[in-house]
């Protein structure tokens, strides 16, 4: 418990320092619980997620950083490696390829990279994966774009 708390505190300080360096990520710790974090990440440019802001929820387990944080999308997103209903993310570093060399901040960067480079061969969202696997990039882009507009863009007026 002590070790994970100390580590998270260091990450907290680092996040404050890095705020300017990484304008695409806004990582915030819960006021009362250092094991709960949320992040706002910007959809990468030249992807159907561009212009969208996506919210992630982090639940950090007690053995952190020996074990990975649990991360899911709170904002609905149409992406082959994100569960459409639960927001669960299929990313190796959040499972067996996790190592303490990663941080909450670098996990956010990895998720942004995943948004830009989907892996349709290990889909959590089969509809999305199938569009890409069948080569229907246009269909995929328009679906992903639609959900970005519906769920990840601030409503006008």
């Amino acid at each position: 418990m002590q070790a994970s708390r100390a580590r998270l505190f260091k990450e907290y300080k680092e996040v404050q320092r890095e705020k300017v360096a990484d304008p695409d990520i806004q990582l915030v710790c819960d006021d009362t619980n250092i094991f709960k974090w949320t992040a706002l990440i910007k959809g990468p440019s030249e992807t159907p997620y561009e212009g969208g802001v996506f919210q992630l929820a982090f639940a950090v387990p007690e053995p952190y950083p020996l074990q990975p944080p649990q991360v899911r999308f709170l904002t609905k997103i149409f992406h082959p490696n994100v569960h459409f209903k639960t927001g669960e993310i299929c990313l190796d570093i959040l499972k067996n390829a996790w190592s303490p060399a990663w941080t909450l901040q670098s996990v956010c960067r990895a998720i942004i990279a995943l948004m830009a480079h989907p892996e349709p061969d290990s889909p959590l969202n089969c509809d999305s994966g199938n569009l890409l696997r069948s080569g229907d990039v246009r269909g995929f882009n328009s679906m992903a774009r639609m959900y970005t507009r519906l769920a990840a863009m601030p409503k006008k007026g």
């Binding site: 070790a3 100390a6 580590r7 260091k10 990450e11 680092e14 053995p63 950083p65 020996l66 190796d92 067996n96 390829a97 996790w98 190592s99 303490p100 060399a101 990663w102 941080t103």
Partner: protein, 356 residues
């Protein structure tokens, strides 16, 4: 000198790939996902061994693996190899029944494991019994090499109270810290692991308030919050060494897993539970400047029909000849997919007997 440098012919690799799938199926049936690595075959190629046909090799690896697996379950204690192989596949929870680091056991516990095993294995165990007094098993959770190294090293320092060795390794640890910083690792991601290892070094030297007993060392090695942190420390050190000497390690990594140095470190060194290979051992031994002897227990035999137990010494780069002549104080027993700790009767005797 290192067998790492032994060039692997393309034919050899092809042959390896050819029967690898069969191996995989056999192993998967009988035990936890023990991995058969090219290391075994590299090793085999660097010693005079009789050519066994493919089925024999497959049987060989499966048998050893099955025996290791069988030992993991107490209820399997007396069952034969065949039974062990027909047993359903390994469950992760079963590994948790074995402590991270076990008690010191007489070497006879090893032969008990192989009662129904191959005559070659039994003969090799007999040779081992003449050279080693005891074995200490570690949990087969993918961290067994690092865990064995950790305990063996700390136990040696605790028993020898070798302050010069502690001072020496601390210099290397600081070098490793610099290495990681130069590679762009964020300090706070690894410093806790470094601090905990350095703390153990100070604690095992007697004469301070924090000094710990042998029992406490055993307890700490079984306590996840210490044991896993030190394993992780070694993983950082290993990854740092491989990355800084990428040019040296690249050919072996490409030969082993057909991936880049960076990907290899990210997927096979840094994550907990990823098994170790000769690459990891070489890198850790070099980075910390600690020699490691690995004794191989498999079913290979010599041309003349005589059975010897092969071993390989991982001697850190920059070791002078005089130091190289003395046997490493860390001896590990390697059976395909798993490392345990061995205790020699006396280091010089072992050298005489094995180096034939």
């Amino acid at each position: 000198m290192k067998f790492l440098v032994t060039p692997v012919s393309e034919d050899f690799l092809k042959a390896f790939c050819f029967f690898f799938p069969t191996l995989f199926v056999n192993i998967a049936e009988c035990s936890q996902p023990l991995e058969i690595r090219s290391e075994d075959f590299l090793n085999r190629s660097s010693f005079p061994v009789t050519m066994q046909n493919q089925n024999d090799i497959v049987k060989d690896e499966a048998e050893v693996a099955a025996s290791i697996a069988a030992n993991k379950f107490e209820e399997w204690g007396n069952c034969s190899m065949k039974d062990a192989m027909e047993e359903p596949s390994f469950q992760e929870e079963d590994a948790a029944k074995v402590p991270y680091v076990g008690d010191k056991e007489p070497l006879s516990s090893l032969s008990a494991e192989y009662q129904a095993g191959s005559p070659i294995l039994l003969e090799k165990i007999k040779i081992l019994e003449s050279q080693y007094t005891a074995i200490r098993r570690t949990r087969g959770d993918g961290n067994c090499f690092f865990r064995s190294f950790m305990f063996s090293y700390l136990e040696h320092v605790l028993e020898s109270q070798d302050r010069a060795e502690v001072d020496r390794i601390k210099v290397n640890v600081e070098k490793c810290r610099k290495t990681l910083q130069n590679l762009g690792y964020t300090d706070f991601t690894f410093e806790d692991f470094f601090a905990l290892f350095l703390e153990q070094l100070d604690d095992i030297l007697q004469g301070t308030e924090e000094s710990i007993s042998y029992e406490e060392l055993v307890n700490r090695s079984r306590d996840q919050s210490v044991s896993d942190y030190i394993v992780m420390f070694f993983r950082f050190v290993t990854a740092g060494e491989i990355r800084t000497r990428a040019e040296f390690f690249e050919p072996f990594i490409t030969g082993l897993s057909n991936t880049t140095v960076d990907k290899f470190c990210k997927s096979s060194v840094e994550p907990m539970g990823e098994e170790s290979d000769h690459i990891h051992i070489t890198a850790l031994s070099d980075a910390l400047g600690v020699a490691i002897r690995v004794v191989y227990l498999d079913r290979s035999s010599c041309d003349n029909g005589g059975v010897t137990v092969n071993h390989h010494d991982f001697v850190p780069v920059g070791t002078n000849e005089k130091e190289e002549a003395s046997a490493p104080f860390i001896t590990l027993l390697y059976r395909p997919g798993h490392y345990d700790i061995l205790y020699p009767k006396s280091s010089c005797k072992v050298t005489d007997n094995v180096e034939k």
